[in-house]
């Protein structure tokens, strides 16, 4: 299953190799060309020489992860690995989670001093990242160095699964859901205009890959496909929920990097209505996606963001509704169809 393979692939920002390989394999035979640029973005094109607006669909390949920065060499910590976050990770979700380091999937666990030995003062606070280590079972630093070196990257060891009522569970749905949407769209679509698929790098550390990809593609219209924050959980007032799981893909109105182009947002909303696809507006100002970088390239680009709501985003085990994923796919396809029929651009 494509979603499973993408979710379980290793790809912290700057180390997206496994995702890149999956994407290229999936696209072979379905597109007219696939290139990689100097940053590592994968850019696929269909019907590149044709007339009409150049449409860019974007999904980022990277995930938030960890980087090993030091191998401890003391009497009580010898062989334990110090790490830092690669991208935005809430330190509170790290304790007691298994991770895999590198492409060899060296297993390790993140542990801390047990509750029994913590003072009341210590217990009342979250455990900061500098008190955490990855433990690979090494007996000392020399032993650890045989398999790990500073700079190696790690990801959560979370298995993908379908649970509950049509819900998928896994890691890195931000933005492997977008990658899957983009792969499936490129595999199935046939447009009379040039269609570009950009699988970008380094979104999680500042929308970096999307800038150069958009510059290269020079799109007239661009849409970022994302997994976005969903907090429809207890104790969160409606206005803070951002999105609701199962209510359809979320469209960005305003986030930390983008104010949606009103004309394109209306076009997407009307298209959703016409094709009877449920959508919701993303009701939070924080966060961002690649469109924040894309719309500022060259002389500016029109477009927007379509996101699948993801509960516990950036945490080891995330949840998303398959129905939201399918509706996002239908919406992207409907938008391409409308543009093909002269909608929005002409």
């Amino acid at each position: 299953m494509l979603l499973k393979r993408l979710s379980e692939a290793l790809g912290p920002s700057g180390f997206e190799d496994e995702v890149r390989d999956i994407v290229r394999t999936e696209l072979a035979g379905h597109v007219d060309g696939v290139e990689t640029d100097v940053l590592g973005n994968v850019i696929a094109v269909k019907n590149g020489a044709s007339e009409g607006p150049r449409v860019m669909l974007d999904a980022h390949m990277d995930e938030v992860g960890l980087m090993v920065v030091d191998i401890a060499d003391g009497s009580t910590d010898g062989g334990l690995l110090k790490f830092r976050a690669l991208g935005g990770i809430d330190p509170r979700v790290l304790v007691s989670k298994p991770v895999f380091i590198g492409k060899d999937r060296i297993p390790g666990v993140i542990g801390a001093k047990p509750i029994h030995l913590q003072s009341a003062e210590e217990r009342s606070k979250p455990i900061p990242m500098d008190k955490l280590y990855i433990d690979i079972g090494a007996k000392d630093a020399e032993d650890a160095r045989r398999v790990v070196k500073p700079g190696d990257v790690a990801m959560f060891a979370t298995r993908f699964a379908e649970i509950g009522n049509g819900i998928i569970k896994g890691k890195s749905f931000d933005d492997r859901l977008g990658c899957a949407l983009l792969v499936e769209t490129l595999q199935s679509s046939s447009t009379p205009f040039p269609l570009y698929g950009a699988f970008t790098v380094q979104e999680e550390i500042g929308l970096r890959g999307a800038r150069t990809a958009a510059h290269r593609i020079q799109p007239d219209i661009a849409i970022a496909l994302e997994g976005t924050v969903c907090s429809d959980v207890p104790d969160v007032p409606s206005h803070g929920q951002a999105t609701v799981m199962g209510k359809g893909p979320a469209l960005t109105v305003q986030d930390a990097q983008t104010i949606a182009d009103r004309r394109f947002l209306e076009f997407m909303l009307e298209t959703a209505k016409k094709y009877d696809i449920p959508v919701q507006l993303r009701r939070v100002k924080g966060g961002s996606n690649d469109f924040g970088a894309i719309h500022r390239t060259r002389a500016g680009v029109i477009g927007g963001g379509i996101s699948v709501p993801v509960r516990y985003i950036h945490a080891p085990s995330q949840l998303a509704a398959l129905s939201d994923y399918e509706h996002a796919k239908r919406l992207v396809s409907a938008i391409l169809q409308e543009i093909a029929q002269g909608g929005f651009w002409s």
Partner: protein
């Protein structure tokens, strides 16, 4: 001995909170069966497996006990939207639960869930400096409220969901190393004893409800009336921030406990055995009753000679408790050799001060 490693892996990934140990007990019954003469289960659910010693007349009676329960949670309330509020049955650090995968054990099967907390972007900076209490956490089953209400009942048990991760140097990580590793120690001890002749009668016990207050230990020792009651339970592995006398080296051999709660002559017998057989060991000092079944053993009925041994594990009471199988083997060798040298003279000497 790989078969016992496989058994341990099955025990670690089995689910059994305090008072709900039956599925773990079944696995232990199967594993113990080839080595023992008789097996009973007492009223509270303690498993008592008997291996007869050689010879007629009064033989030393040795109880080896490992608690089989694990720390667990319980469904306390079903919230709007189908989210579950939870309560402790054992001592979780709530901070280690955020983002964890759990299994909710319902009457019609076990459901995967994720422990959620208020998301960081909605948590004010001041509040982010405080650990979320258990009451603020919830379990998300990815199901509609109607579906949840049909399946889940208040009081349903929740345990951690975790597979076993094989680490370097024969170390491994999973939930429930506290205290299923000690069940594996008993199993390896029985394996050793099956190859030798011993005069002591062995009562191999898997006790219940240790995590909520050593409750199984009280009744099981009353029923067995052993001469020596040895609790086998995990201790803390060394880790930055843990005091030198409270953390023990992984792969450094079993920790043998010393202090007022433990019988000095049994302690010395264990240390002498380790020395005589070249088994690495560590000494754990206690100044008050230990947090293990041995605290009960000493004071039930007319009192029993108690001891405590066990392997160090890191990250106790989390889903990634980490230990070394080599320590399990060393601990089993120690117990087997200690039992082999026991005779009635040594037993009678326990009351001579």
């Amino acid at each position: 001995m790989d078969k016992h490693r496989d058994t341990l892996a099955r025990l670690l990934t089995a689910h059994g909170g305090p008072g709900d140990e039956s599925s773990v007990r079944r696995l232990i019954q199967e594993a113990f069966a080839p080595y023992i003469d008789d097996m009973t289960v007492d009223t509270l659910g303690n498993l008592i497996a008997f291996k007869r010693g050689e010879g007629d007349g009064r033989r030393p009676r040795v109880l080896l006990s490992a608690h089989m329960d694990e720390i667990a949670l319980m469904v306390a309330k079903i919230e709007e939207g189908g989210f579950l509020r939870i309560e402790q049955t054992g001592g979780f650090d709530p901070r280690t639960l955020v983002g964890a995968e759990v299994l909710v054990h319902t009457a019609t099967g076990s459901l995967i869930g994720i422990v959620g907390a208020k998301p960081p972007h909605l948590t004010p900076p001041e509040e982010r400096k405080k650990a979320a209490p258990l009451a603020d956490l919830f379990v998300d089953l990815g199901r509609s409220e109607d579906d949840v209400r049909q399946r889940v009942r208040i009081g349903d048990r929740i345990t951690l969901s975790r597979e076993v991760y094989q680490l370097r140097n024969d170390r491994f990580a999973c939930k429930s190393l506290d205290n299923r590793t000690s069940v594996a120690i008993i199993l390896e001890t029985l394996e050793w004893l099956s190859k030798y002749r011993h005069t002591a009668d062995i009562y191999a016990v898997a006790s219940v409800q240790e995590e909520v207050g050593l409750r199984g230990a009280y009744t099981v020792v009353h029923g067995v009336e052993p001469d020596i009651a040895i609790a086998i339970d995990v201790t803390f592995g060394s880790f930055p921030g843990i005091a030198a006398d409270e953390g023990f080296r992984l792969d450094g051999g079993p920790a043998i406990s010393y202090g007022p709660n433990l019988h000095r002559k049994v302690f010395q017998g264990l240390v002498d055995t380790a020395e005589a057989h070249g088994i690495p060991y560590q000494i754990e000092l206690s100044q008050s009753p230990v947090g293990a079944d041995a605290a009960a053993f000493q004071i039930v009925s007319g009192g029993f000679a108690s001891a405590l041994v066990g392997i160090p594990i890191r990250y106790m009471h989390t889903s990634v408790e980490t230990g070394s199988y080599r320590d399990i083997e060393k601990c089993a060798r120690l117990l087997a050799h200690y039992i082999l040298q026991l005779d009635m003279n040594k037993v009678e000497d326990l009351s001579c001060y």
